[in-house]
């Protein structure tokens, strides 16, 4: 069954199919019930599956995370929605101190098969707190998985895989591309492995690593490079935690050049971690320094200036040129 879906529709389809497939799946969050979510990711689900399976919580983020934990240790597979990543911080304690640790704390007696969904990243001209990309905060936490889809097809499979997975998964949705790409989604296709990065195109000159909405920019830069006889290996990181370092290393060992792009702030960003690991394990194959193209170490500006904050494909092209010219 192939359907043309946007990323948002793919998420809705994945939730629908997960609810259909498994009676223990429940969905909750703010406005996810009758309203179907502020972005409509849960549209029609309550009508279809009933208010005991798809329901609005009171407006309380720590509660949402804590509920998910308690449900997951006692037989349910909760999929909780945070309305925006910028409001997840009240649940930080629950995520870090409990969700990520319960399996370890109880030596496997209790575990948290749950998914926390949150729209993240900039580019939709939203008010303050609606545009940040703080995936690195969660990548630092042992026991969690953090994944980010970049296409409708991938979003569908990744979300199904996340819901079925025995570990707690933070599923970050690049809301900037919720509607921008339509793609044929095969709802019968095998789900991807949550821990693996995806080689979008094979190349020999430079490894370009990006994820989420940045991948669309990276694709444009890759097309430019092709027409300029630069062969880019584009990697969609997908799994922020754990890192699929083997895929990255094997690519950099081949190309000798590595550019990491993320829209999150630079300091202690996921790019820093990738860079450190490539340096530790593939330094002898490097032809140029590992470079990062990231958001600034500033507060995310309101929408008027966000285009200046966000890396784009022009910036990427500049970095690619710089890396290809190295060491001149």
């Amino acid at each position: 069954m192939q359907e043309e879906l946007t990323l948002l529709q793919a998420i809705n389809a994945a939730l629908f199919d997960a609810l259909t497939a498994d009676q223990s799946v429940v969905i909750f969050g703010e406005d996810v019930g009758g309203n179907g979510g502020v972005f409509r990711a849960t549209e029609h689900l309550q009508t279809h599956f009933g208010a005991h399976r798809v329901f609005d919580t009171p407006l309380a983020e720590a509660l949402i995370a804590g509920l998910a934990l308690g449900m997951s240790t006692h037989g349910l597979r909760p999929v909780a929605e945070f309305q925006f990543m910028g409001f997840i911080y009240a649940a930080f304690e629950q995520i870090i101190s409990h969700i990520a640790r319960m399996r370890n704390r109880t030596r496997g007696r209790l575990s948290c098969p749950l998914v926390l969904r949150a729209p993240y990243c900039a580019g939709i001209h939203a008010p303050e707190h609606h545009s940040e990309s703080t995936e690195a905060l969660f990548a630092h936490i042992p026991g969690l998985r953090v994944v980010i889809p970049s296409s409708p097809e991938q979003a569908y499979g990744l979300l199904r895989a996340a819901i079925a997975h025995p570990d707690p998964v933070l599923f970050l949705e690049p809301k900037r591309i919720y509607h921008s790409i339509k793609q044929a989604v095969d709802r019968q296709a095998e789900w991807p492995d949550l821990s693996l990065s995806h080689r979008v195109c094979i190349g020999t000159d430079l490894t370009l690593i990006a994820w989420g909405a940045m991948l669309a920019e990276a694709r444009q830069a890759t097309i430019w490079a092709q027409s300029n006889n630069i062969s880019i290996e584009l990697i969609d990181l997908v799994s922020i935690k754990p890192l699929d370092i083997d895929t990255i290393l094997s690519s950099v060992q081949k190309t000798g050049r590595c550019l990491i792009v993320h829209e999150a702030a630079r300091t202690c960003g996921v790019g820093a971690e990738i860079s450190a690991r490539v340096q530790e394990q593939a330094w002898d194959t490097l032809l140029a320094p590992i470079m990062r193209l990231t958001g600034y170490d500033t507060v995310m500006p309101y929408s008027k200036l966000e285009h200046l904050y966000l890396p784009n494909h022009h910036d990427m092209i500049g970095y690619i040129q710089k890396l290809m010219e190295y060491p001149e």
Partner: protein, 367 residues
């Protein structure tokens, strides 16, 4: 007509339902007829179980003082609450503890040796006890939302089980508590929240914690039922817990219970309560605490005599000595424990670290 703004006043302490439930009053008189369950055998059993908790706390404190245990929170002043609660919750119910609940855990398949293992710094202790229960929760009040989630799962599964969530008075200041209570009421969940109000949150007295007349008042805004009960009165406690559990089991929950007591010990072995706790206050509380009160009552009723009291004390002490000896015999945890329960399957990137840790453990053993 003029616009009226009528100030809303919260109910006062003497208003129902926030009167303190009491049966065995501090003066050893019965404030009501003895309930049927409170037979001499039952009272003796509760008494013995409380002695065991007291002995465990004393032993653990000695072990800590002599470097054989980590920080430990005694439950002196809580024994009546925790033993009667532990006796009332069914084995198939789910208990969500905080860190001062050893008296409950001992009624739920946890052995004193397991509790010593836990506070000795060994996570394997969390494999013991009732397998449905949550492990001890250290971040204050955060367990309340887990308990609500579990209660939702039970309701979803049409279960007859009830969740009991335990917390301290300080915990009632946290959002987690308010959020959980609020949600539990919205969904009419089968859950009993039990506050052990020991008047202190480390060094912060209750009046610095809240301006509410009682902690039971906090149920008001959530639209939840509440009981207050004398935490030194095992009969009133058992009755109140039973009533609450029955109410929840018949889908008329949730319920908030404030059990009023006094912390008769340091907050933990890392604390020195003499810095802030008025001695006179503590002494007054010592006179009415649950073990002494029940002991005096049983004595007065000729159910116990001085000799029997002495022998029950020695019996409890011996039991704890045996358990502590067993705890000391535990095999050491393996290095791989740090890694092997973190994820369902260890991610590749952690495999090197795991190997490193195994080598490190081997070289530590050699040195």
């Amino acid at each position: 007509m003029t616009l009226h703004c009528i100030p809303f006043s919260p109910p006062q302490q003497h208003d129902n339902p926030f009167d303190l439930a009491q049966c065995l009053a501090p003066n050893l008189k019965l404030a009501c007829a003895l309930p049927e369950f409170a037979t001499p055998e039952w009272l003796l059993d509760i008494y013995e179980q409380m002695l065991i908790v007291r002995q465990l706390d004393e032993k653990a404190t000695i072990l800590q003082r002599t470097g054989q245990l980590g920080t430990y929170p005694s439950s002196h002043g809580h024994e009546g609450i925790s033993v009667t609660l532990g006796k009332t919750i069914l084995s198939e119910d789910i208990f969500v503890p905080y860190y001062r609940d050893q008296g409950v855990l001992l009624q739920r398949d946890m052995r004193p040796r397991d509790i010593l293992q836990y506070w000795g710094g060994d996570e394997r202790a969390n494999l013991h006890g009732n397998h449905r229960d949550m492990p001890v929760c250290i971040p204050i009040a955060t367990q309340c939302t887990h308990a609500a989630g579990i209660a939702y799962a039970l309701q979803y599964q049409n279960s007859e089980q009830v969740v009991v969530c335990s917390l301290g008075d300080g915990a009632t200041s946290k959002g987690d508590f308010a959020e959980a209570l609020n949600f539990s009421s919205v969904k009419n969940l089968p859950i009993v929240y039990v506050i052990s109000n020991n008047q202190w949150a480390i060094s912060v007295p209750l009046e610095a914690q809240t301006a509410a007349k009682t902690l039971a008042h906090k149920a008001y805004a959530a639209g939840c039922h509440a009981f207050r009960v004398d935490g030194g009165d095992v009969i009133a406690l058992a009755h109140t817990f039973q009533l609450a559990l029955d109410t929840c089991r018949t889908h008329q929950g949730p319920i908030l219970i404030e059990a009023v007591t006094y912390r008769l010990c340091d907050h933990t072995t890392a604390d020195d309560a003499s810095r802030y706790m008025p001695e006179a206050e503590r002494e007054a509380a010592m006179k009415i605490e649950s073990i002494k009160r029940l002991e005096d009552y049983l004595h007065q009723e000729n159910i116990l005599n001085a000799n029997k009291i002495k022998s029950l004390h020695s019996k409890a002490k011996q039991h704890i000595e045996d358990e502590a000896a067993a705890a000391a015999q535990l095999n050491e945890a393996e290095a791989v424990e740090i890694f092997d329960s973190l994820y369902a399957d260890l991610p590749n990137e952690l495999k090197n670290q795991r190997t490193h840790c195994i080598h490190k453990a081997q070289s530590c053993k050699k040195n």
